[in-house]
C-alpha cells in the first residue's frame, strides 16, 4: 500500500469530516439565530410588561398620593432615629412649619406636646412588635398653639427589606375634641339638673302632702257633722278635688321614689287568693251603684302561699282595675290569675285585668306605658287622671322582676297582663271567707288604751276625732319627754309616735321606752311619719318601733293599724268558745302539740307558767347577756342550761332546741360567736313577748269564762 494512497484517503476523510462539521455548525448557527430572535422577542415582551406595570404602579402611586394629600391627612416620614426625612404639604399646613424647617429635626421633641411623648414612644414600641394602633395625641404648632390629632403610623423598608423609618399619618381632631368637651359639660349639667328636678319633685310632693292630709281629714270629719244640702254639695267637690290632688301627689311621689331607687321589694308570705279576693270585693263594693261588674277567676292550681311584696302587687292591680273601671262605663272587668308554669319551688303566675271598655287604637297602644301620656285631650277631659298610673304599674312590675304588656281592640276592651315568678312556701293557702270578712271589719270593738305622741295640733285633732268617732279614747303627749312620763302612769295597748318633735324626738323616746322596766315596755309603737323615704323607716325600726303609718293617712289605714294591734276581741273569743268549748286554741306561732302534751288542757297551770315566764324572761336574758360579755364560758353554759327548758314550757320549743345546741357547743365557741348568738337569740325571744302577752290575756279571759 503506497503512502500516497493512504494520504489521499486521509485527506478525503478529513474533508468529509470538515464538511460534516460545517453542516452541523451551520445548523447550530441557524438554531442559535432562531433562539436569539426568540430571546429578543421575549425580552421585548418582558420590557413592555415591565413598562406597563411601572406605569400602572406610578398611576396608582399618584392616585393614592393625591387621595391622601386630599384627605386632610398630614404625612411625616422619619428615619429610625426619629429624625424627620420628609414633611408633606398637608402636614406643613397643619403645623405652620416649612418643610426645610423640619427636615433633620427630631419629630417627637419638635412636635409632640411633652405629656404625650410617652404615648408616642409606647406606640413606636408596639409597632416594632408588629402591632398597629391609633392614638390621640397633642402636637404643638410652630406658633406654639396645640392641636389634637389622631396619629397612626406605619414602617417602610429600603430595597434590601431593612426597616428604613416610619410614615406617620396625622388627622386634626381639635374641633371634635372641643365638641366632646362641650358635650361632656352639657351632659353633666343635664344630669345635675335632672337630679335637682327629682329632688325638688320629691320634696315638693312631701311638703304638699302634709297640709293635704289635714284638708282631707277635715273633710272626712266635716262630713260627719250636720250639713244642709248645699253645704254637702260643696263638701263633695272639696273632698273629690282633694282626693284627686292626693292621688296626683302620690303618683308623682311614687315615680320619684322609683326613679331614685329608694323603693325596695319586701317579700312576705302571702295568700294570693285571699288578697285578690279582697281586692275584687273592694271594687265590687265601690262599684255597687255603677254598671261595671267585677269578677275574679283564680286558678286553683295555685295551692300554696307565695313570697311576694303584696303592697306593690296590690298597687299595680288597683291601678289596673281602677283604670279598667274608668274606661268601662258599662260592662265587666275581670281579674284573672293563672298558674302558667312551676318548678319545685317557684310559680310562674299570669295576672290579667280584662275589661269590656272602650279599648285602644294601635297608636294609643304604643304609648300606653309612657309617662304623662294619655290617649288624647278628650280622654283627659272625660276620664281625668294624671297619666302616671300605667307608668307606675310598669315600673313596679319591672321592679318585681316581671313584664307588663297590653292587648286591646278599639270598642271591644283591653287586657293588661303581666307575669311574676313567685317562690312558694310549703304552707297551703286556705281561703277562709270568715278571715276575709274579719279583715274587712273596720273598727276594733275591744276597748283600747291608746297614746298619741304628736306636736302638731291639727294632726292631733284629726287622729283623736277619728278615734272618738270609733269610741276609742287617746291620751295626748306633746313630745317624747311627756310620753315617757305618761307611759309609767298606766297600761297602754298602742302608742302612735310622731318622729320629729321638740324637747325629745320620737326615736329617742322609743329607745328610752324600750329600756324602761315597766309592763308597757313591749307595747306596739307606731311611727307617724310624713317621710316616704325608706331610711327614716329603717331608723324608726332600729329605734324599736313596731310599725309605721304614713301621713297623710285615711281612716281606713288608721283602722287597719288599730285592728292589727288591737288586743283580742272579747266577744269574738266568746263566740269561739261557744263553738268549741272543750279546747283552747293556742296562737299558731306556739307549739300547740307540745303545750297540750305538757299541760293536758290544764289552762290554769298554763296561765301560771306564762305569768312566771314573762316575769323572769327579761332578767334571765340580761344575765345571759352579762355572762357572755364579762363572765367565763362556764358561767355562760350554766345560764344557758338554766334557761333552756323554760322556752318549751311556753310553747317556744325551737328556742329550747337552740339553747340546747348553744349549751352543748359554747365551750368551743369564740367570744364573737357567743356574742352573736346571744344577740340574735335575745332578739328572737323578744319578738315572742307580745305574742305571749296576748296569749296570756286570752288564757285569762278563757279561764274566767269557764
Amino acid at each position: 500500500m503506497s503512502n500516497l494512497e493512504l494520504l489521499e484517503r486521509r485527506i478525503l476523510r478529513e474533508r468529509k469530516a470538515r464538511k460534516e462539521a460545517e453542516g452541523i455548525l451551520e445548523a447550530k448557527a441557524l438554531e442559535l439565530f432562531k433562539a436569539n430572535s426568540e430571546l429578543q422577542q421575549l425580552n421585548n415582551n418582558l420590557e413592555k410588561e415591565v413598562n406597563r406595570r411601572s406605569k400602572l404602579l406610578k398611576e396608582n402611586e399618584t392616585k393614592y398620593r393625591s387621595v391622601i394629600e386630599n384627605m386632610e391627612l398630614g404625612l411625616l416620614e422619619t428615619d429610625n432615629n426619629g429624625l424627620i426625612l420628609k414633611a408633606y404639604q398637608k402636614f406643613n399646613e397643619l403645623t405652620g412649619y416649612e418643610e426645610n424647617e423640619l427636615i433633620g429635626k427630631n419629630a417627637n421633641t419638635t412636635l409632640v406636646v411633652e405629656q404625650f411623648i410617652p404615648v408616642v414612644e409606647n406606640m413606636r414600641g408596639k409597632r416594632l412588635k408588629g402591632e398597629s394602633g391609633v392614638d390621640e395625641i397633642k402636637i404643638r404648632k410652630k406658633d406654639g398653639t396645640e392641636l389634637w390629632v389622631i396619629k397612626s403610623s406605619t414602617p417602610f423598608f429600603d430595597e434590601k427589606g431593612n426597616l428604613a423609618g416610619h410614615i406617620g399619618i396625622h388627622y386634626d381632631i381639635t374641633d371634635r375634641k372641643k365638641m366632646e368637651d362641650k358635650l361632656r359639660v352639657a351632659r353633666k349639667m343635664a344630669i345635675e339638673a335632672q337630679q335637682a328636678e327629682k329632688q325638688f319633685l320629691a320634696s315638693m310632693s312631701h311638703e304638699i302632702r302634709t297640709p293635704l292630709n289635714a284638708i282631707i281629714g277635715m273633710t272626712h270629719l266635716l262630713n260627719d257633722t250636720a250639713l244642709n244640702h248645699e253645704q254637702r254639695g260643696y263638701l263633695d267637690v272639696l273632698s273629690s278635688s282633694a282626693s284627686i290632688l292626693k292621688n296626683l301627689i302620690s303618683d308623682i311621689l311614687d315615680i320619684s321614689k322609683i326613679d331614685a331607687g329608694s323603693l325596695e321589694v319586701n317579700l312576705k308570705t302571702v295568700n294570693l287568693k285571699a288578697e285578690t279576693f279582697k281586692l275584687i270585693n273592694i271594687f265590687k263594693a265601690k262599684s255597687s251603684e255603677s254598671k261595671v261588674d267585677f269578677s275574679l277567676e283564680f286558678d286553683d292550681n295555685i295551692k300554696n302561699q307565695v313570697f311576694c311584696d303584696v303592697q306593690l302587687l296590690n298597687q299595680v292591680l288597683i291601678n289596673l282595675l281602677g283604670n279598667a273601671e274608668k274606661f268601662t262605663q258599662e260592662g265587666s272587668v275581670k281579674l284573672k290569675v293563672t298558674l302558667q308554669a312551676h318548678d319545685s319551688n317557684c310559680y310562674v303566675i299570669l295576672f290579667e285585668v280584662k275589661d269590656t271598655g272602650i279599648g285602644m287604637s294601635p297608636l294609643e297602644l304604643e304609648k300606653v306605658f309612657e309617662q304623662f301620656t294619655q290617649a288624647n285631650a278628650e280622654i283627659r277631659r272625660n276620664y281625668g287622671g294624671t297619666g302616671l298610673g300605667l307608668t307606675i304599674s310598669k315600673r313596679l312590675v319591672d321592679l318585681m322582676g316581671g313584664y307588663i304588656d297590653v292587648s286591646s281592640k278599639q270598642g271591644e276592651g283591653s287586657n293588661f297582663y303581666f307575669t311574676l315568678d313567685l317562690k312558694f312556701s310549703d304552707q297551703i293557702a286556705d281561703l277562709d271567707i270568715k278571715e276575709i270578712k274579719d279583715i274587712q271589719l273596720n273598727i276594733p270593738t275591744t276597748p283600747m288604751e291608746i297614746m298619741v305622741v304628736e306636736d302638731n295640733e291639727m294632726n292631733i285633732k284629726y287622729i283623736s276625732s277619728l278615734l272618738k268617732k270609733w269610741n276609742l279614747k287617746a291620751d295626748i303627749s306633746w313630745n317624747g319627754q311627756e310620753a315617757i312620763d305618761n307611759f309609767k302612769k298606766k297600761h297602754y295597748d298602742l302608742i302612735f309616735m310622731d318622729l320629729n318633735m321638740p324637747v325629745m324626738d320620737g326615736f329617742e323616746a322609743t329607745r328610752v321606752l324600750r329600756k324602761t322596766p315597766h309592763p308597757n315596755r313591749n307595747v306596739p309603737i307606731i311611727a307617724l311619719t310624713a317621710s316616704t323615704f325608706l331610711s327614716k323607716k329603717e331608723l324608726a325600726l332600729q329605734a324599736g318601733m313596731t310599725d309605721f303609718l304614713s301621713k297623710p293617712f285615711t281612716p281606713e289605714q288608721l283602722a287597719e293599724i288599730l285592728n292589727k294591734y288591737a288586743p283580742e276581741d272579747l266577744s269574738a273569743l266568746a263566740e269561739i268558745h261557744t263553738e268549741d268549748n272543750l279546747s283552747f286554741r293556742f296562737n299558731k306561732k306556739l307549739d300547740e302539740n307540745h303545750l297540750n302534751l305538757v299541760y293536758e288542757n290544764d289552762l290554769e297551770h298554763v296561765e301560771a307558767m306564762f305569768e312566771v315566764f314573762l316575769d323572769i324572761v327579761d332578767e334571765e336574758l340580761e344575765i345571759l347577756n352579762n355572762n357572755a360579755k364579762i363572765g367565763t364560758k362556764e358561767e355562760v353554759k350554766k345560764q344557758a342550761h338554766k334557761m333552756k327548758p323554760t322556752f318549751s314550757m311556753v310553747g317556744i320549743t325551737h328556742l329550747t332546741k337552740k339553747m340546747e345546741y348553744f349549751e352543748d357547743n359554747v365551750l368551743e365557741m369564740d367570744s364573737l360567736k357567743i356574742d352573736n348568738f346571744v344577740r340574735s337569740f335575745s332578739l328572737e325571744m323578744k319578738e315572742y313577748i307580745p305574742i305571749l302577752q296576748e296569749e296570756l290575756h286570752k288564757i285569762r279571759v278563757f279561764n274566767n269564762n269557764t
Binding site: 493512504l6 486521509r10 476523510r13 469530516a17 470538515r18 462539521a21
Partner: protein, 178 residues
C-alpha cells in the same frame, strides 16, 4: 456516541501506532460513517466497538487494555478542553462525585441527544464507591479516566473493580485513598 471519542481515539492510535494502523482499522471495519468523524457530530456506538476490535486484532493487545489506555488518553483531552470542571473541585473524590451531579447535567444541556453512563457515588471516610452503569459496557474506559483523575489530584490510591453483572453493564469501583 459523540464524535470527540472517535477523533480522540484516532489521535491516540495514530500517535501510538501510526496513521497506517488508523487507516487499516477503518478499512477493515465496515463503518456507516465511512470513518470520517467530527468532534461535534454523533455516531453509532457500534462503530467504536468495531474499530476497537480491529485495533486489538491489528496490534495484538486485548480490547480492555486498549480501552483503559484510551480512557487515560481521553482524560488529558478533557483536562485541556474543559479545565473549569477540574478547577471547580479541590479533591479527587469531589471531582468524581461531580461527574453525575454536575458535569453530565451540563453535557446534557449542550447535547440533549447524548447517551451518558451513570456514576452513582458514595463516600465513607477514605473510601469512595462508584457504580458504573451503561449499556455501552465500556467500564474499562471509565477505569482509565479514574486512574488519571486520582493522579491529577496527586492522590495515592488503591482501586478494586467488581462486575455486578456478567456482561459488564454494571460495575462497582472501590477507590481507597492511601
Amino acid at each position: 456516541m459523540k464524535g470527540i471519542v472517535f477523533s480522540e481515539f484516532f489521535e491516540m492510535v495514530e500517535e501510538k501506532f501510526g496513521y497506517e494502523v488508523v487507516d487499516s482499522i477503518i478499512e477493515k471495519s465496515d463503518l456507516p460513517s465511512g470513518g470520517s468523524y467530527t468532534a461535534i457530530g454523533t455516531y453509532h456506538h457500534s462503530e467504536i466497538v468495531a474499530l476497537l476490535m480491529n485495533l486489538s486484532d491489528e496490534v495484538k493487545v486485548d480490547p480492555q487494555t486498549l480501552l483503559k489506555a484510551f480512557g487515560e488518553y481521553l482524560f488529558d483531552t478533557f483536562l485541556k478542553s474543559y479545565p473549569q470542571f477540574f478547577e471547580a473541585q479541590s479533591s479527587a473524590f469531589g471531582f468524581l462525585e461531580s461527574i453525575d451531579n454536575h458535569i453530565h447535567i451540563e453535557v446534557r444541556k449542550l447535547y440533549p441527544e447524548a447517551t451518558l453512563p451513570r456514576f452513582e457515588t458514595k463516600i465513607e471516610g477514605d473510601k469512595l464507591t462508584m457504580v458504573y452503569t451503561s449499556e455501552r459496557k465500556m467500564s474499562a474506559l471509565a477505569e482509565g479516566l479514574i486512574h488519571k483523575t486520582m493522579h491529577h489530584y496527586n492522590t495515592p490510591f488503591e482501586l478494586k473493580k467488581e462486575l455486578l453483572n456478567q456482561e459488564g453493564s454494571t460495575v462497582k469501583f472501590q477507590i481507597t485513598t492511601l
